[in-house]
Amino acid sequence: MGRKRAFDEDEVVRAAVGLFGGRAYDGVSVDDLVTHLGVHRNSLYKTFGSKRGLYLIALRRHLADDVRPLTEALATAPDAATALRLITSADLGLLLLAAVERAPADEEVAAEVATALAAVDQAIADALGMSTALAAALTAAALGIVLRGNPDGVGSALTQRLDSLH
C-alpha cells in the first residue's frame, strides 16, 4: 500500500497485449506473465487483481492503441479496396482472438469487441456512403480474409464487385 511500483504499468500492459494476442487465453499462464512481463507475481496480483483483470485492461489498450487508429483511417478511405487493405494490414491479433475465444464466455469482452467492431462498421459506412449493414458485411469479410491468411486475389475480387455498386 502506498509503495512505489517497481515497474512501468504502461509497458507491462503493452507486453500483455502481445502475449494475449499471440495465443489462447488458457495458454497464457501466470508463470508466462511473470516471465514475459518482468513483473513479480505479487505485484501482478496487487496491480491487476487477476489474470482476467489484466486481460481486460490489455484488451482495452489494444482497442485504443491499434483498433481506434484503424477506425480513424477508415473514416477517410476513398473506396472499398482501401478500406479492405487498411483492415487486412492492421495488427488485430488480440481483437480476433477475443472475438473467437473469449467473447462467447465473457460478457465484458463481448461488449468491448462489439463496440469496437460497430465503430469500424460505422467509419466504413460514413466514408463509402453505404448502409451500416453492408459496411458490417465488408468488415466481416475483411476479418475472414485476415483469418484465411489474406490469399491472393480474394480481396480484389470482393472490392471490384463492391466498388462497381456505386
Binding site: V30, K46, G49
Partner: protein, 116 residues
C-alpha cells in the same frame, strides 16, 4: 482443500478436513466488494512464500496458514499445487488467498462472474 462458494454478497471459503488444524482456520467470509478477482495459478507454489506464522509448511506436503511476504499477509491452504487458485482481496486482513480447490476453472468462473 477448500470449498469456495458465494452466499449473498459474501465469498465464503470453507477449509476442509485436517487442513483446518494446520491452517488455524475453518472458514473465511469476505464481502464480494473486497474481492478483486480469482486466477488459476499452479505455478505460485514454486515461488517464495515468505515467513509463516501461524501455520504449517512442509515443503512438498502442505502449505497452510498465514504467510508474511513483502509486508503482506497471505493465506495458504495448498497440498496439490496443480489445483491452486489465487483470490486477490482489498481492505482485508489478508492481501490474497491461495487455495487448493477441486476444480480451479469452475472456482475462477464462479468468483469472476460474481464480481461482474
Amino acid at each position: 482443500m477448500a470449498l469456495v462458494h458465494i452466499d449473498g454478497n459474501d465469498l465464503v471459503v470453507v477449509i476442509e478436513g485436517l487442513d483446518k488444524l494446520w491452517a488455524f482456520k475453518s472458514s473465511l467470509t469476505i464481502p464480494l466488494a473486497n474481492v478483486r478477482g480469482a486466477t488459476a495459478d499452479p505455478g505460485i507454489a514454486a515461488d517464495p512464500k515468505g515467513i509463516r506464522a501461524p501455520g504449517a509448511h512442509l515443503p512438498g506436503v502442505i502449505t497452510a496458514g498465514t504467510f508474511h511476504l513483502d509486508g503482506e499477509k497471505i493465506f495458504w491452504d495448498v497440498k496439490d499445487e496443480s489445483k491452486a487458485v489465487v483470490i486477490e482481496l482489498a481492505d482485508e486482513r489478508y492481501a490474497r488467498l491461495v487455495l487448493q480447490v477441486d476444480d480451479p476453472r469452475e472456482t475462477v468462473a464462479l468468483v469472476e462472474n460474481a464480481l461482474r
